[in-house]
Symmetry: C3
Subunit: 351 residues, 3 copies
């Protein structure tokens, strides 16, 4: 399996370069790039696993989320430069929905098919729940509602204020997890579970591969993004659907493959940390950072989503919390998350 992925990467990257120079047709580029992204993502999954074995699920999950979201951040900055504010907000929405419902759902479902009951840290789940409610239900909803009776300047001031608060809180949360409360909530089981397992790669090698794979994914993703418009036209996809669903699926391929890999090895702590941790990073760090960056761009981006986007995110958060609050999962809970994703997908498709 690993060999196949290695060959696909060796083949896919040069083909992407060739295709973008020779202006191949959008459909063929779409297929080449998609396969390549997925193949490269498998390397990111293996690197994360190696790091998680050495450094624990939190650092592993954090690194995976960071490198995964780095790709999105880069693409979004290019989109901001082009003034495509609607696309940026749509792809942020898509990342939140994709990570919570699709990555989370597939992890619970596929992991649950192998293991009847899978457990993960209740303390982390609750820490994350509080932040999900803060980020999506408070920090995204307030500007939406309040801006309805505000002019543009005030809406932007509110957005910037909220963005600064969110970034500070996100960094404080990392500080809590990794410094002041490191190990405070460690469960006794954790020790017993980690039978001495050998990482596939050394920490240094794994990190190097993670960086290289991120760069490669970023490059190929960009080519992929350029095919969307033409592919969308041929398949009859609206811009919103492409932003929320297609961009999000491709842009989060790294999180997908890592989380599912972990779930199928019954390492649910890492899987959940990737799915929810990545969502939190998008909502509390990437989104506000883009608002602040947009101030130096031709068009400033307020933190105001469309109503369907906001409702989809808020209901996804409530569903995720009610499904994950008990620190346990099974295939059916995964199916529930996937069903919600499908419903929203149909909704955005028809919109």
């Amino acid at each position: 399996m690993n060999r196949i992925f290695t060959s696909l990467v060796m083949l896919g990257v040069p083909l992407t370069v060739a295709g973008s120079l020779l202006h191949w047709s959008s459909i063929s580029m779409f297929i080449i790039c998609s396969v390549t992204v997925i193949a490269i993502s498998s390397f990111m999954g293996r690197a994360t696993e190696s790091i998680a074995i050495v450094s624990g699920p939190r650092i592993g999950g954090l690194l995976n989320a960071t490198f995964g979201n780095a790709v999105e951040l880069i693409i979004s900055i290019f989109a901001l430069k082009a003034g495509l504010i609607g696309v940026v907000l749509a792809s942020l929405t898509g990342s939140v929905l994709g990570n919570l419902l699709l990555v989370g759902g597939l992890s619970f479902f596929l992991g649950g098919l192998k293991f009847k009951r899978q457990k993960f840290s209740i303390h982390d789940a609750r820490h994350n729940s509080g932040l999900l409610v803060f980020a999506v239900i408070v920090a995204f909803v307030i500007p939406e509602i309040f801006s309805m009776s505000m002019n543009e300047t005030k809406t932007l001031q509110l957005s910037v204020g909220i963005s600064v608060i969110m970034i500070v809180l996100y960094l404080a949360g990392l500080f809590l997890k990794l410094v002041t409360h490191r190990g405070v909530y460690a469960h006794s089981e954790e020790g017993s579970v980690t039978e001495h397992e050998e990482p596939e790669w050394s920490k240094k090698k794994a990190l190097t591969i993670l960086v290289l794979a991120t760069l490669a994914v970023a490059y190929v993703s960009e080519s992929l993004v350029h095919t969307f418009e033409a592919v969308g036209e041929q398949f009859g996809w609206s811009e919103l659907f492409i932003g929320v669903i297609i961009v999000a699926i491709v842009g989060n391929a790294a999180e997908h493959s890592s989380a599912i890999l972990m779930a199928m090895k019954n390492k649910m702590d890492v899987a959940v940390e990737i799915a929810i941790g990545s969502t939190l990073q998008i909502a509390m760090f990437v989104a506000p950072l883009l608002v602040i960056i947009s101030l130096f761009m031709p068009t400033a981006m307020p933190l105001v989503f469309t109503v369907p986007e906001l409702v989809a995110m808020a209901t996804a958060v409530l569903l995720t919390i009610s499904v994950s609050s008990d620190g346990e999962s099974n295939w059916f809970e995964g199916l529930t998350l996937l069903a919600a994703y499908l419903i929203m997908g149909i909704g955005f498709y028809l919109l």
Copy 2:
């Protein structure tokens, strides 16, 4: 007590037949039918109890919910045929509110007056919470919001898509509960509680009575429904109030009497399974089934409730979850649910 109910049924059914043939006044028919329905429902309660003793709380609760909701399904199909889409959606709303707040509230309250703390399975409560959020907060809210900027055809497509997904997920949930995870979450206490208790009726007899009682309830309910308009006019009740409150109280009489009976015997697992299980069956099976059936009717019914209906259901779900999530109840939690029902009742009355 049981003898009184038997006499009431023996008297009430023939009177209903006579009354509908001889066109008695609406008020007298309203009283006769209401009493008869309640009397028949007591048989459904006793049958459920017998089955629950033999087959466990889940099967017992499921059978009760199914036979209880069968009545509603039949009446709703007749209403769809007559093109009364608003009435069907109102009575679905009423069933959700009635089961969660009225049946649940009365069970907690009356059970709680007898026992200080009543416990029920936390695992079932959480499984149900996830599905309640899925059904009402995701699957009912999304079409409401998204359809605001959609034409009728697309709204209907979205409704049908969501309906199919809900039915599949509902069946998968039953599969999980009754097949793959049967007994996985069984608590050690459960065994100790079930002191060897003798069922009143054999399984076969209980099932027969359940079927016969359902048919009788369906017949009498139909006569009852025809009195609503006249009674409503005399009492000054709006159509929405009749649909949401009156139809729901009568239509769920079976669930009421069974659940309360169980709660007062401290069998909270069955009582909760009836109240919440019946809600889930309405929201995830009966409602979507009616959407699909309506496609073959003169007027198709989209899954779009009025805003007050949706807000009432969504807040009822949030309240139920926050009250039941700890696997414990007392009379005050019952009173809280009843107070919420009363508030909504006043709201729909004044609307």
Copy 3:
């Protein structure tokens, strides 16, 4: 420290009297009164602590909430008399937000800086969660949504109906806590924690001080309130911002100082009881009481908040519940609540 506060009270109260007679400038009165209120509040904190040691956290928290909210009730009645319905609703909103997010947040944050993990009763937290959802999500949201298609008379009827139900339920909740279920949920740890501690003041003395301090706070608060308009003009604060943020901070100074004092002594049960108990008293008792009182005033007040007020309260409740449901807190959870308060504060400032 206590001596400083004693001197400040001895100095501040006469100065306030002098200032209001001699018509000193608003800014100087604003500063004098604010300092005096905070100094008096410290006495209320100490009195509460003495009572809590003798009577337990529930009675202590209840008394503190009652005396704290008595001030607000008195001021609101004066405002109702003047027909300032918008100001009353805004200050009710501010009390809910201030108690949940500011008092709760500061308690968690400052307590958490001293103690890594602080615990409080899960049963009380869940009892309170259910009531918060009932009060804010059901009883405040329903009239908001339903009144959109109602005339004024019906809106007022709905408001009065809901108000009566809320007051009855609130009293029933006290009855449960203090009579029928007193000690039912007492945790075994509680006994061990209460090392024999000597109260600073006797119960009688503490109660006397509580009453006197409340009267003094009420007097000084009134003078303070009269400075708001002028101060607001000078600082460019809108009426809504003054009502929701400034009035609430000053009006809840007693709760602030008591709760934080308790949190820093690791008595989180009392701190949480003050923060959430006070919110519940405002939402379920003070607000409905004001609706009923307003019937005898020139202008009746319906229970209909503005949309930003309602959304702020509802999201604050969801955040509080998700942060406090595990019966544990740390400095980061406090910071999350404070961040939410700050976001809403910016929002109301810009509105």
